[in-house]
């Protein structure tokens, strides 16, 4: 069982770690290749190397000397591996974030499920009832085993942040917990302050 604080930390925003890491690795590879080519071309690896063709006959001869199954099989395996990695990465980047339903009761013979949209709608209505909140957006995140709520609240200009921060838990989230009959409901809240209508000075 993951701790509620870990679940709520994950609920703050969609994780971009994999995408960022893979993009960084690709960038590093590109820079490294460019550096190697420039270094070789500048003659730092020897004047002989700098004047040799890129696809060196020496290398081709060495490759041709290998048993054919090794070179070709290796190339095919590498290609398949790259394709699988690419497809997994693509699926991961394109997959939308899940909105899990909340399963309250899953004993044999009966189930009680609160759909994601019902939960989000109820909490949103409560959150918008708090003084100082102009607009609220609520959705469920995570997976069915560890659902969490993500709230985004826009506060009126000049509203008391401390008050809203306090009421949010005592009224909105406590009510949601009571209604659903759960002890903890991990939630991540993002405040947008002072987003009143822009005033124009003429």
């Amino acid at each position: 069982m993951t701790k509620p604080s870990t679940i709520s930390a994950k609920a703050l925003a969609r994780s971009y770690r994999t995408e960022r890491t893979l993009t960084t690795v690709t960038g590093l590879l590109a820079v490294a290749i460019a550096a190697v080519v420039l270094v070789a071309g500048a003659g730092w690896l020897g004047e002989f190397r700098a004047r040799r063709p890129v696809l060196d006959p020496l290398v081709l001869d060495w490759l041709g000397g290998l048993p054919p199954w090794l070179a070709r099989g290796g190339a095919i395996a590498a290609g398949v591996l790259l394709a699988v990695l690419g497809l997994w990465w693509l699926a991961r980047s394109l997959r939308p974030e899940r909105r899990p339903d909340l399963e309250l009761d899953h004993t044999d013979g009966r189930t009680l499920t609160v759909t994601a949209s019902a939960l989000a709608g109820a909490v949103r209505a409560d959150a918008e009832g708090v003084a100082g909140v102009v607009k609220a957006r609520v959705r469920s995140v995570g997976d069915a085993a560890e659902p969490a709520l993500r709230l985004r609240l826009w506060l009126r200009e000049g509203s008391d942040l401390r008050q809203v921060w306090h009421e949010l838990d005592t009224r909105v989230l406590a009510r949601a917990r009571d209604t659903l009959g759960v002890a903890v409901l991990p939630a991540a809240v993002r405040f947008e302050l002072g987003s009143a209508q822009r005033r124009r000075v003429r």
């Binding site: 701790k3 509620p4 604080s5 679940i7 709520s8 703050l12 925003a13 971009y16 995408e19 960022r20 890491t21 893979l22 993009t23 960084t24 690709t26 960038g27 590093l28 590109a30 820079v31 290749i33 460019a34 080519v37 420039l38 070789a40 071309g41 500048a42 700098a50 040799r52 063709p53 890129v54 696809l55 006959p57 054919p68 070709r72 190339a75 095919i76 395996a77 590498a78 290609g79 398949v80 591996l81 790259l82 394709a83 690419g86 497809l87 990465w89 980047s93 000049g158 942040l161 401390r162 921060w165 838990d169 903890v184 991990p186 939630a187 993002r190 405040f191 947008e192 302050l193 002072g194």
Partner: protein, 178 residues
């Protein structure tokens, strides 16, 4: 930036999958029917070109510089895509609260502009540091700066921040130019 990285990562993933599939396909086809190669890509032509191109030839250097530049763009984009939210204290266990740096800056900016003798202010805020640049036509930096620092610090104390950012105030006043 985060959307851009997601887009970049999708494109890179697609390119990687396509390159891998084509590599496996071409090698397998060439192995099975050496006379029938190439299947999709004109790789014998590429082989001849690369065979005639030396490491110190200008086209290769240009290509290397372009590749390196593209790599740097990827690195910068991935580096800039981190989250910059300002964490607030948890009102209850399992409830995380954050706010955006822009929202915090706006809050501080409104407060500073409402002070006496301040004609304008620009604020940049983060979870570690809040910088205020105020302009005043009536008061010199000597008098205004301690007052503003104190009042901004008091304001930030009132916001339930996980850690209080350090406040730095700069006052731009014509009184100091005389």
């Amino acid at each position: 930036m985060r959307v851009f990285v997601r887009l970049l990562s999708t494109v890179l993933a697609l390119a990687l999958a396509a390159a891998g599939a084509l590599l496996a396909l071409e090698v397998a086809w060439h192995w099975w029917r050496p006379a029938g190669a190439p299947l999709l890509l004109p790789w014998p032509g590429w082989r001849d070109t690369l065979g005639g191109l030396a490491w110190d030839s200008p086209p290769l250097r240009v290509a290397a510089i372009v590749t390196g530049g593209a790599g740097l763009v990827l690195l910068l984009a991935a580096g800039a895509a981190r989250r910059r939210e300002v964490p607030l204290r948890e009102p209850a266990a399992g409830v995380r609260v954050t706010t955006s740096p822009r929202a915090l800056a706006r809050l501080v900016g409104q407060h500073v502009r409402a002070q006496d003798n301040v004609t304008g202010a620009t604020v940049t805020a983060g979870s570690r540091k809040v910088r205020v640049r105020a302009t005043s036509t009536l008061e010199a930096e000597q008098q205004l700066r301690p007052r503003l620092t104190e009042s901004v610090t008091a304001l930030l104390d009132d916001v339930p921040l996980v850690r209080r950012p350090t406040v730095s105030v700069v006052v731009d006043s014509p009184k100091d130019r005389r």
